[in-house]
């Protein structure tokens, strides 16, 4: 699959079908279901991008909510009408305050700033391994939240930025989703992706073969952060609000669960787990409300997670990609799953 043409063809058909389905959805679904559809898409973006960091490279990061917060705030500040900005955000540099950016540019900027933050944080933090990295990235969530709360001149403090233009729609979400999948797929099946997997499997061996371990780690961390930042921007303009507590540790946990359930390193696995978990929480909700047992749905999901971990510890797909995509494209390729 080196030829870009063949690669695009593999994606063109599913994307076309997907677009048609989405169009049908926009015509037939009520606003609530459409919103859920968008959150499903955003969660897939998040899970799949977290999979670059956690799945491919084996860095156990919980920091996605931190990057979403950064990306969300940057995007929100950029798209906000200039008149409101100057009134509400006193400490904003005048270059930012005077202009109002288009959504695509704002999203990209949000992603880039998140990625930049990931590089700055990543260079020292990625020297840590396993659990240590997990807790350090968890700490990052607290640190970012503290700044969001305590810099009211830029973030409006605890209140958050409300009344953002509701520009996120199904098309934006799924466009970014396709781009994310495409990027992940290409990365995974490129030399970079193999480098990442090599680091995950045996860092010393990879280093001895000349792999630049530190650089690759930071790169994969930043790549994941970029998409988290973009997803944060999409999220903020879907909810039309971003507050310091918008993206919590709980969300970080849910994302990790998606990656692990899907099979660490499997793009399709992460995507499917994201869809299933997002929808099942929605479906459990009416039951919980009818019974008046608020909190029951979270318990059910958590118990389910433990059961899957016990009975299927390598997740649904391991590192492999199931053949659904191949079948979908009617072009079954054989050696697509990585060793």
């Amino acid at each position: 699959m080196s030829a870009p043409a063949a690669f695009l063809l593999r994606f063109a058909l599913p994307v076309g079908i997907g677009a048609a389905l989405l169009y049908a959805a926009t015509l037939s679904l009520d606003p609530y279901s459409l919103t859920i559809l968008q959150f499903v898409g955003i969660n897939v973006i998040l899970a799949v991008s977290l999979n670059i960091t956690n799945g491919f490279t084996g860095l156990f990061s919980l920091g996605h909510p931190a990057f979403m917060t950064i990306g969300g705030y940057v995007t929100a500040i950029l798209t906000m009408p200039a008149t409101r900005k100057t009134a509400m955000l006193r400490d904003l540099p005048s270059i930012l305050a005077a202009h109002e950016w288009p959504f695509a540019a704002s999203l990209t900027a949000g992603g880039l700033v998140a990625a930049l933050a990931a590089v700055i944080v990543g260079i020292p933090v990625l020297r840590l391994r396993g659990h240590y990295l997990a807790v350090a990235t968890l700490g990052l969530i607290f640190i970012v939240q503290s700044f969001a709360v305590n810099l009211p001149g830029i973030t409006r403090g605890a209140l958050g930025l409300a009344g953002l233009p509701p520009v996120t729609n199904v098309w934006w979400v799924y466009l970014v989703l396709v781009l994310t999948l495409l990027t992940c797929w290409r990365v995974k099946h490129s030399s970079l992706g193999r480098t990442m997997l090599a680091i995950r499997e045996n860092e010393l061996a990879a280093a001895s073969l000349g792999v630049k371990v530190a650089r690759t780690r930071v790169l994969s961390f930043a790549l994941g952060a970029f998409f988290a930042g973009v997803a944060g921007g999409l999220w903020a303009h879907l909810v039309t609000l971003i507050a310091p507590g918008s993206f919590s540790i709980l969300l970080g946990f849910q994302l990790i669960v998606m990656v692990v359930l899907g099979g660490t390193g499997s793009i399709a696995g992460a995507a499917i787990a994201a869809v299933v978990l997002t929808l099942s929480t929605e479906w459990l909700r009416p039951i919980e409300e009818a019974a008046g047992l608020f909190g029951a749905s979270q318990i059910i999901v958590a118990v389910g997670v433990i059961l899957v971990l016990i009975f299927r510890p390598s997740g649904l797909f391991g590192t492999a990609e199931p053949n659904v995509f191949g079948a979908f494209a009617r072009r079954r390729r054989h050696a697509q799953s990585t060793p």
Binding site: R127, R129, N150, A296, L309
Partner: protein, 298 residues
């Protein structure tokens, strides 16, 4: 800034540190033996607080008996959690246990919220615990002294147990190397369960002390102290009991002095400071203050 001010802040830090230390010991023991960051540890701390409330306020047990109940309750929940969530997935990648512990934390928190609501509750203590004792230029409460003393006594007892008893040695052997310990005839299941029981019991006592000091508890009270105790364990050197205690005191002191010595607008950054300190310590001293460097942290 006067000397008395500094002194009082140091005492504040030590008391906070003593509680971090007790929670951190459990983290450290469990990590040392199964390489698991037990995220549910903070919730066991909350369980301890509620067990204390139940035995003091509802069952009206005398204070020493209440401490015993709290220890048992903590140990029991710890064992239950180990049995239900961690034993079945032993041998799986580290990350698996970590996620399982997050899931257990969510289950415990939601169960608590569903049954006893998230409302904070008053935790009343005997009046003598609240009395002020003059100590040089400052005055300290009895409960503060009790917390520090209790933390030190429990630590000493635990260190003695691990160092000098056969069971303690078996635990250390298990922590050192599973396989070899098993070959030597050590029942590693029992050792792991014991680590969970002791660690959880100490966290539960910390919950009791937290309630006694601040007078208010809630089912979600464990999250932040739990995470900070983990930071303390890392600062001290994960896997080492005395390291966890040292880390607890260092962190408590650092946190209070951060708030106390810097201008007040920095006060709200105290959690950010704690985690920034964690990252810093890990970079400068990856094995913590007195941790061993036997393993690559992979």
């Amino acid at each position: 800034m006067t000397g008395a001010y500094l002194l009082s802040q140091i005492v504040n830090g030590l008391v906070l540190g003593a509680m971090y230390a007790l929670i951190a010991i459990g983290f450290s023991m469990i990590y040392g033996i199964v390489r698991l960051i037990n995220f549910a540890h903070g919730d066991i701390f909350a369980v301890g607080a509620f067990a204390a409330l139940g035995s003091i306020a509802i069952a009206a047990l005398p204070f020493p008996l209440a401490v015993l109940v709290v220890l048992l309750a903590g140990a029991l929940v710890g064992l239950l959690v180990e049995r239900a969530a961690f034993r079945p997935m032993r041998g799986a990648p580290q990350v698996t246990g970590f996620i399982a512990s997050l899931a257990v934390a969510i289950i415990l928190e939601n169960l608590a919220v569903m049954t006893i609501t998230a409302q904070p509750r008053t935790f009343a203590i005997p009046a003598w615990l609240g009395a002020l004792v003059p100590l040089g230029s400052i005055s300290v409460r009895v409960v503060d002294i009790a917390i520090i003393v209790l933390a030190l006594v429990l630590t000493a007892a635990l260190v003695g147990f691990v160092r000098f008893t056969r069971t303690g040695m078996a635990m250390r052997a298990t922590a050192e190397n599973y396989g070899v310990a098993r070959l030597m005839g050590i029942n590693i299941d029992r050792m792991i369960a014991l680590a969970f029981a002791i660690g959880s019991a100490l966290a539960a006592v910390a919950g009791l002390m937290w309630g006694a000091k601040y007078g208010q508890i809630s089912p979600l009270m464990g999250t932040v102290p739990g995470l900070k105790a983990f930071v303390a364990a890392v600062i001290g050197g994960v896997g080492s009991i005395s390291g966890a205690v040292l880390g607890g005191f260092v962190l408590g002191l650092a946190e209070v002095l951060f708030v106390g010595l810097l201008p007040s607008e920095f006060s709200a950054f105290r959690n950010a400071f704690v985690f920034a300190a964690l990252i810093l310590v890990l970079l400068v001293m990856p094995n913590g203050l007195i941790g061993k460097s036997t393993e690559t942290r992979a």
